[in-house]
Every structure is written in structure tokens, then in C-alpha cells.
Symmetry: C2
Subunit: 343 residues, 2 copies
């Protein structure tokens, strides 16, 4: 199926264009008239690197490709706007497969108010989805960057963490689920395969005075490190306040891993980590509650210094190291947080 | 080299951000504040599909990846703005290779006034470059779409065609260059490997009243078909007015191909085909001349009907067929224009 058919199939399935879109896909470019400022991010997933075909339905792969891109917009406090999709299709990807991918993306686009406004399709040796997303805000300074955390700010986390890493372990080693209720195991796998971008919560946090924000793609340890570095501050996180998802402790135990280490080193939770002044905690919690996506949990604070300390209840700490996408075959599967006992 | 290093290398090499960019790469998203309307297009090239490593320097591959995306903006009459780059890097792509790709993109970005504002890097089985570009205009209706051609309009073409297809033949069959001056052969290969987007000419045409415009990526026959279909009109092109690049006739003869067929079926010239009212021809030619990129040649006219006729001097015609990216292993190497002799 060529580009023309791709775009035709896309258009057949598209809901009406979003309010910013003046001309949708099918011309040389899509035309928009942004009312204020835009935030643009691009994210790619590649078969054999970020996912394996057969592990998830292609519908879910399509959802995840868009979800991981939109998560970056959530972390800016942006309103979702448009998406532009590059599909690299191997020769064995049939029309039904293609439509499943597309339907997954369109489904999540509808759920998040995103308009798929353009795309390109090409042959590629491995299934590749590169998604550019554009989000909107009234003005450039309404976006929340990684850089604004101030000493004295609280650190808050949306939802629960560790689920995606535990789900990854269950997909690779199904026997680890032996002691888990099937519904818990299913939910952990779903959190790995089909994450939801926290767009409404990101907007709520931005509107409540968050000073810095990032989404957890590389894992809390690594992403907190990005926030610390961008802000020129240190982050202190209390390990015993971390909201671990149900089943993470059991999967970690079955795998002989420390549950905290699994949760902070494992990537792909796509929750948001935000810094905010202490007097903004209650308004932010209320606004997040109204957003209805995920609970907000205070997990630590911003202090003068550099780096990230994850303080363990037993008195030691995890020292966070950076995560390198090239370090391993799978994003998030090669945790690099090294444990350093001290203190 | 991971994403962090990629972005660090990118930032080291970047000129100051363009006027629209409020926050460049390195955060979750790049922030811009577009003054008017934006045109966004995305284009991907994949090793083994669109290019072969070894055939061109990686610097040139980087240039072409950006050039083909910018060409879509040229075809809208947009001012180049920002680019977002996904690099899928195979394991054997070393740091020097990576920097060569990057320098090629940055070089063309500087030449065209484009800001590379973000990117993502990932492992991939084949070298993949997906580029999203955003162009600007004062208002949405300042862009020229494919759809506005009116019966009575003239068709004009920028520059010369057939060079990229002849260059492709020379790359695949070097012996075909036996009778050509080396400088001509070199120029044909260059036009295949390192095309220049006609951004200034596109702006000049848009400003001079072009009613419809498209860039020649799939070949004149196929792209004229897109313009005809989008406008609900027919296009009549006089084959003997087509500006063939120097050496195209000789390469076609050596390959046993018809030079007109080679020029209209071969893709990747990245010239612009525009429709404009007859009284706009002189102003458009003057403005294009001032843009200094490429001459404008009238090649036919828009009439009531559908489809594209390419009228041959000997009385027959070429009937244009669509081009399918999936039809062959190489974009532009599997011409699909079928010759139909008739009255």
C-alpha cells in the first residue's frame, strides 16, 4: 500500500480536524494557525529495539507510538494539538496490520483530542513509527520546562511507578507471574504495552504553578537527573514515599530484584515528575484530582546542590546515573542506577 | 552515542535559534511562537530504500534528508522555520559518520534559514532519517496548496528536469557516462544526491499569485496528476517545452530510453510545478529571477477535464499514471508512466 492509499485510509478514518488545523493531510504540508505558542516533540519506536511484534497487538503498538510522543507534551503542560506520523513498513506488513496500527493511533488521538494531520509512509527493514506532536498554550511562558525547579520546591509524582518495568519482566519471563492474581499481571503488562500520556494532569500541574516538569520515559532515577541538571539543583527523593504499582513488589521478589531499584531504574511509566512550591501542593492535588487521570504523591524536595539522591528507609541511598538509549537493546531494560551504600 | 550526546553535539554546532524559537532542543519539547500560520510536513529516507550508503557521503545524505522535507515547504510558498530530526542509527554507524550526517543537515539548515529545534535518536537496523519541517506565512491563506488550479491558468516549471533520474542511471550504470563530459556527469549525479529545495522561488511564486503548486518528488507525470486531481482539472503539458537538464538526452540515449519519458517519469528533481493566471507570468518570472535559484519555464496549461496529457511533438501523448512509493525498491527508480500513442 503506497502513500496515497495510506493517506486515503487515514482520511476515511479521521474525525473532523482540530480547531487549529486549516488544511489536513493530503497536500504538500498541513496548515495550522496556532493561536498562541506551540511545543513540538518527536519520538520514534523501532521493532526489535522498543517493541517486538507478536508481544503486543499492532493496535497497541500504534497507540504506544503516539502515547510516548504525547507524553512529552504532557510534561510541558501543553494541550494536545496535531500529530504527524512516519510509518516505516517492512515487506511483511499487510494491509490488515497497517490498518490495525492506524486504528490504534486514531483511537488514542480521539481519546486525547489530537488531530493526525499528516504523515509519510515508506518501506523499511523493521517496523518503524516516528511521531511528531505539536501542543498548544496561550503563550510560550505557559509551558513548563525541565529547568525551573527551585530549592524549597516539593517534588510530586503522578500515578504509580514500576508497573512498566514489572510488565516488561512478565512479558520476558511469564513464569514470574506464578504468584500474582491474573488481573494484576495483566494490568502490569498493559502498563508496559499501552501507557497513557498524562495530558490532563500535565495541564493541571502547569496551571497550578509547577516550576519544572518531566515525563518518566527513562525511569525516575534518570529523569530526575535530567530535571536536576536542567535546573542546576539537587533532588532528594524518599524511597518509602514512592507509589509503587500493585504487583511490582511481588514481581521484583520473584525476579530477585529490589522493588525500589526496579521502580526507579525501570523506564516507560510515562508518569510526570514535577517540582512546585509547597503552597501549591493542595491546589495542584485538587486540580489533578479534577483531571481524573492520576493521583499526585509528594516524594521529596528540591535542594541546593546537584544530582539525585533516593533515600532508602534503611538509611542508605540509591545514586541515580544517566540512562543511555544506546546502552542496551531495549529502552528501559538496561537499568543503570547503581546502588551506593552510605550515609 | 546516546540521545544526550546527540543533542549536545547538535547544540554545540547550532547557530542561534530562529526568531520563532523560544526554547530549542534539550527539553521535553521545543517551544515556538509562530507569528501567523504554519505549514508542517514530514519526510523519511531509509537506507536501502531511498539511498545506499557508500553511494554518497553521509554529509550529503544528511543534506538530502532535510532538503526533501524542505521541498514540501517550498511547494507551499512557506518561509522555512524549524526542523525536527529522528535519526535511526544502525550499530555500525560511528561517531564520525553521525557527525557527518549532522553537519550535512546543519549546513543546509544554515543555507535555508532553518533552525534544527529538536530530535530523537534511536537504534535501527538501517540508517533512517525522518525529518519534520515547519514553515511560516503571515496567514493560512498565504500558503499555496495543490488544489487551486483554474482552467485558463498557465503551468510553469522551475529549473530543469530529468537530472535526478539521469543521475540515478549514472550511479547505477557508470558506463552510461562514457560519452559525457565529466563535469556534466558530475552535475547529474549531484542533482540526484544533493537536491536544493526551491524555497525562495516558492515564496516568489506564492507572492506572485500562483493558484496551485507542488514539488516534483515522484516525477512530473505523477506530480502533475496530483495537482490535476486536487484541483479537479486537467493539465496539458507540451513535451517540447520541457526544460531538460544538460546531459539527460545523452544518458537516455545511452540507456535506450526516451529522454522525455525519462524526465517526466523520473522523480526527485525537487523542482516546483505551479499554476498561475496568464497575467501573472511576467511578475512571477521577474520575482523568480530575483530569487536567483531557478528559471521559470511555461510548459502548458490548465483546462477543464481530468488527468494529465503530455503532448509529444510527433503528435502522440504520454498519459501520466500515479506513482506508488511501494511499487519498487527505490523511489523514482520504477517509473510508472505508461506511453499511450493516440491522435
Amino acid at each position: 500500500m503506497g502513500e496515497f492509499e495510506f493517506l486515503a485510509k487515514l482520511r476515511e478514518r479521521l474525525p473532523p480536524d482540530g480547531p487549529q488545523v486549516k488544511l489536513g493531510s493530503g497536500d504538500d504540508a498541513a496548515v495550522t494557525a496556532p493561536a498562541g505558542a506551540t511545543a513540538t516533540s518527536v519520538d520514534a519506536i523501532v521493532e526489535g529495539v522498543h517493541f517486538r511484534r507478536g508481544e503486543a497487538e499492532l493496535r497497541t503498538v500504534g497507540r504506544k507510538a503516539l502515547a510516548t510522543a504525547l507524553s512529552d507534551l504532557a510534561a510541558m503542560g501543553a494541550e494536545a494539538g496535531e500529530a504527524y506520523v512516519v510509518l516505516g513498513a517492512p515487506a511483511d506488513l499487510g494491509e490488515e496490520d497497517f490498518l490495525a496500527l492506524l486504528d490504534g493511533m486514531l483511537e488514542l488521538a480521539a481519546e486525547t483530542g489530537t488531530t493526525i494531520a499528516g504523515g509519510d509512509v515508506t518501506r523499511a527493514p523493521a517496523l518503524t513509527l516516528a511521531v511528531t506532536v505539536v501542543g498548544h498554550a496561550a503563550a510560550a511562558d505557559a509551558f513548563v520546562t525541565r529547568a525551573g525547579a527551585q530549592p524549597g520546591d516539593l517534588l510530586v509524582l503522578t500515578g504509580e511507578i514500576g508497573a512498566a518495568a514489572a510488565g516488561r519482566l512478565l512479558l520476558e519471563h511469564p513464569a514470574l507471574a506464578a504468584e500474582l492474581p491474573e488481573s494484576t499481571a495483566r494490568e502490569l503488562r498493559r502498563r508496559q504495552l499501552d501507557p497513557m500520556p498524562r495530558l490532563r494532569t500535565g495541564l493541571a500541574l502547569a496551571g497550578s504553578g509547577a516550576t519544572a516538569m518531566i515525563d518518566l520515559s527513562d525511569g525516575l532515577a534518570a529523569d530526575a537527573g535530567h530535571l536536576a541538571r536542567a535546573g542546576g539543583v539537587a533532588l532528594q527523593i524518599q524511597a518509602d514515599s514512592l507509589p509503587l504499582a500493585a504487583g511490582v513488589a511481588e514481581v521484583a521478589a520473584a525476579a530477585g530484584r529490589d522493588p525500589i531499584e526496579l521502580a526507579v531504574a525501570g523506564g516507560e511509566d510515562y508518569e510526570l515528575l514535577a517540582a512546585l512550591p509547597p503552597d501549591r501542593l493542595v491546589p495542584a492535588s485538587d486540580a489533578s484530582g479534577e483531571a481524573g487521570e492520576a493521583k499526585l504523591t509528594p516524594i521529596g524536595e528540591v535542594v541546593v546542590g546537584e544530582g539525585v539522591e533516593i533515600r532508602l528507609p534503611r538509611g542508605g541511598q540509591l545514586k541515580a546515573a544517566g540512562f543511555d538509549h544506546f546502552a542496551g537493546p531495549e529502552r528501559g531494560s538496561q537499568p543503570e542506577a547503581r546502588e551506593r551504600r552510605g550515609g
